[in-house]
């Protein structure tokens, strides 16, 4: 029992942090945090960065990196809105977005794995490329998608279950479950872990490292496309800077969640809880009556403190 608790100390710590923050917010502004409305708002926005963080967690466990996902979002979202508007079928638009996302991810994968450019450099490049391509193709104009609000596809992806639970939360949880199974219970996840741990070892142990790494970038592309379509539908709008605001939040959520920046280790549960913590902070600060200027400070404080705690916890153990 004791060892089980010890093994899950990271997860428990995170849950405690989340519970502590929520209690603090409830204490400071009960009129906000004792009502369903704020949680519905959380459930309608937090799933987007969470989805991205889930995809990126797998990449980081494999020792890779992707800075281009905000731009993959914007180009996939553009495919979605163009095809959906042209054919009148958001479903076709969705497939177009997935194809675009997968293609962009494949490009990243090939540049990193075949050509051998380090992922962080390659994806800085592709990030500029796709952002530029989409503004160019859209002539810099936002796309109004209000007419998709009444479609079944909208209701399936971002509708409100029982008239209050945002569907994106359900999808996000399903993806989280799938990724948890992949990382912890599937041979794919096992390959990912060994690649991140030491790619030489993985090769010697017969892991098809190239295939797995390329697949990871493609998965990240698909996830970005999914997130983008959901954001487009939720906001009934596509705009050329879509996704840019997610970059830091997503990284903050992953590392707050306890995934190692060195690869080889990562936690899906941690990423989900990390995303929730990052996602609720600003609302809590605002409703407590503090000005928005506090948000960054608190973000920074929470991240630095928790990451330092991890470092301490792990170094004591490795000794």
């Amino acid at each position: 029992m004791k060892t089980t608790l010890y093994n899950y100390r990271l997860q428990l710590g995170l849950l405690l942090l989340l519970a502590g923050l929520l209690s603090l917010f409830i204490y400071l502004s009960p009129q906000t945090f004792l009502h369903r409305r704020i949680y519905v708002a959380f459930m309608s926005t937090i799933p987007f960065p969470t989805l991205l963080a889930l995809g990126l967690t797998l990449l980081i466990v494999a020792g890779e990196m992707d800075l281009s996902f905000p731009s993959i979002m914007v180009i996939s979202g553009l495919s979605f809105s163009n095809v959906a508007q042209a054919t009148g079928s958001p479903l076709l638009g969705f497939f177009a977005a997935l194809a675009t996302g997968a293609f962009a991810g494949l490009c990243n994968g090939l540049i990193v794995v075949w050509i051998g450019v380090p992922a962080i450099i390659a994806t800085i490049g592709t990030q500029f490329f796709w952002r530029g391509a989409s503004t160019l193709l859209a002539d810099g104009l936002a796309r109004n998608l209000t007419n998709l609000r009444d479609t079944t596809f909208h209701d399936i992806l971002v509708g409100r279950l029982f008239d209050w639970i945002p569907m994106q939360t359900i999808w996000c949880l399903l993806v989280a479950l799938l990724f948890w199974l992949l990382l912890n219970r599937h041979i794919f996840g096992d390959d990912v872990r060994f690649i991140g741990d030491d790619i030489g070892t993985a090769k010697m142990m017969g892991v098809k490292t190239d295939t797995v790494r390329i697949a990871l970038f493609v998965i990240m592309g698909l996830i970005s496309a999914l997130a983008s379509v959901m954001v487009c539908l939720e906001m009934a709008n596509w705009w050329p800077t879509q996704g840019e605001g997610y970059l830091l939040l997503v990284f903050a959520a992953i590392f707050l969640g306890g995934t190692s920046v060195f690869g080889g280790q990562g936690t899906i549960f941690g990423t989900v809880v990390g995303s929730i913590i990052i996602g609720i902070l600003e609302a809590g600060i605002i409703s407590a009556g503090l000005s928005g200027y506090w948000t960054r400070l608190v973000h920074g404080l929470v991240i630095v403190l928790s990451v330092s705690l991890y470092a301490m916890a792990f170094s004591t153990r490795r000794k």
Partner: protein
């Protein structure tokens, strides 16, 4: 002997040449022919707002027949200064700047440009000192000063909706930014002078880029302050998301007054749906068109710089049907 056909052809040619010279004498030339202008649109490539400015400038260049080169500064004052130096090096006839870096930062560069005989004019943000100094050499301004647009929107809102002492307003803006923040400051001051209680929130850099992230924040605010009567977004993209924000916070159309700036397609449909009630329009198209026109006029005829206030436009349920189609094309 010259063949009959050839003779006819030569005759025709002669008539053509003659008539074209005669016609040219009667027609005025395009005033901007041969004039080269560099234009800093201020924002990033493709942002809604500066695309409208760019469209205005492009139209002016097409109307006047001058050459135009666009620069993009991602709304960064530093980059605007760099772009100015780049333009200076190219030695065009005129340069249009967005005034964000301010008088002092621009002063040495604009002096250099004027000394070289380059006409500089400003758009969007005022540069009062430089204006005073160089107006005679063609330094002009077309735009809405930030303070003026904030004041105008707040005044219009108070009058139009009969806001009174004790009513509560939320202003969500970028007060911490130099110059740009004056708009939020004016909104707050004007509303407070009318006796309203004003809450101010600063837009985080993330929400600045991805308005969707603002949903929990505004929901939290509205839950904590259920007595709020009017929400003013001092930000174009957030204005466009007001409908989504209200929906998420469980607030129906016309329950709370929504106001903001710049008319995007999403804002237009939110006005029709009743979630947004008043939008201040700085008419950015004119801020692109007029500086180009003015530089051409100064270059050709030596006119002094013009100071033009492009603001004062408001969009609401009554006039949205006229303006919405133009917004789709990034003209309004």
């Amino acid at each position: 002997m010259i063949g009959k056909k050839t003779g006819l052809l030569m005759a025709l040619l002669a008539v053509c040449m003659l008539s074209s010279t005669v016609l040219a004498k009667d027609t005025l030339q395009q005033s901007g022919k041969g004039i080269k202008i560099w234009f800093d649109t201020g924002g990033p490539v493709g942002e809604t707002y500066n695309t409208i400015v760019q469209h205005g400038a492009e139209q002016a260049a097409a109307d006047l027949g001058c050459d135009i080169e666009f620069m993009y500064s991602d709304w960064s004052p530093q980059k605007m200064l760099e772009n100015f130096q780049k333009a200076l090096a190219a030695g065009p006839d005129g340069i249009v700047v967005m005034g964000h870096p301010g008088d002092d930062a621009y002063a040495p560069f604009i002096k250099e440009a004027v000394d070289k005989g380059i006409i500089v004019s400003s758009s969007d943000t005022e540069l009062p000192n430089l204006m005073e100094k160089y107006q005679a050499s063609g330094f002009g301004y077309a735009g809405v000063s930030n303070y003026a647009r904030g004041k105008a929107l707040a005044t219009e809102a108070v009058n139009r909706f009969g806001l009174k002492k004790g009513d509560r307003a939320l202003v969500w803006g970028l007060k911490s930014q130099p110059t740009r923040g004056l708009s939020s400051k004016a909104l707050i001051e004007t509303l407070e002078n009318s006796g309203l209680t004003v809450d101010y929130m600063e837009i985080s850099p993330e929400i600045d880029k991805d308005a969707s992230l603002g949903t929990p924040v505004i929901t939290a605010y509205l839950s904590s302050n259920p007595d709020c009567d009017i929400v003013i977004m001092d930000h174009g993209a957030l204005t466009a998301q007001l409908e989504n924000f209200f929906r998420a916070a469980g607030i129906g159309p016309d329950e709370i007054i929504g106001a903001g700036f710049s008319l995007s397609p999403a804002t237009a449909s939110a006005i029709k749906a009743g979630y947004v009630d008043l939008v201040g329009d700085g008419q950015p198209y004119l801020q692109g068109y007029l500086p180009v026109l003015q530089i051409v006029l100064t270059k050709r005829f030596g006119f002094s710089g013009l100071e033009i206030e492009t603001g004062g436009g408001f969009i609401h349920t009554a006039n949205i049907d006229l303006i919405a189609p133009l917004a789709e094309k990034a003209i309004r």
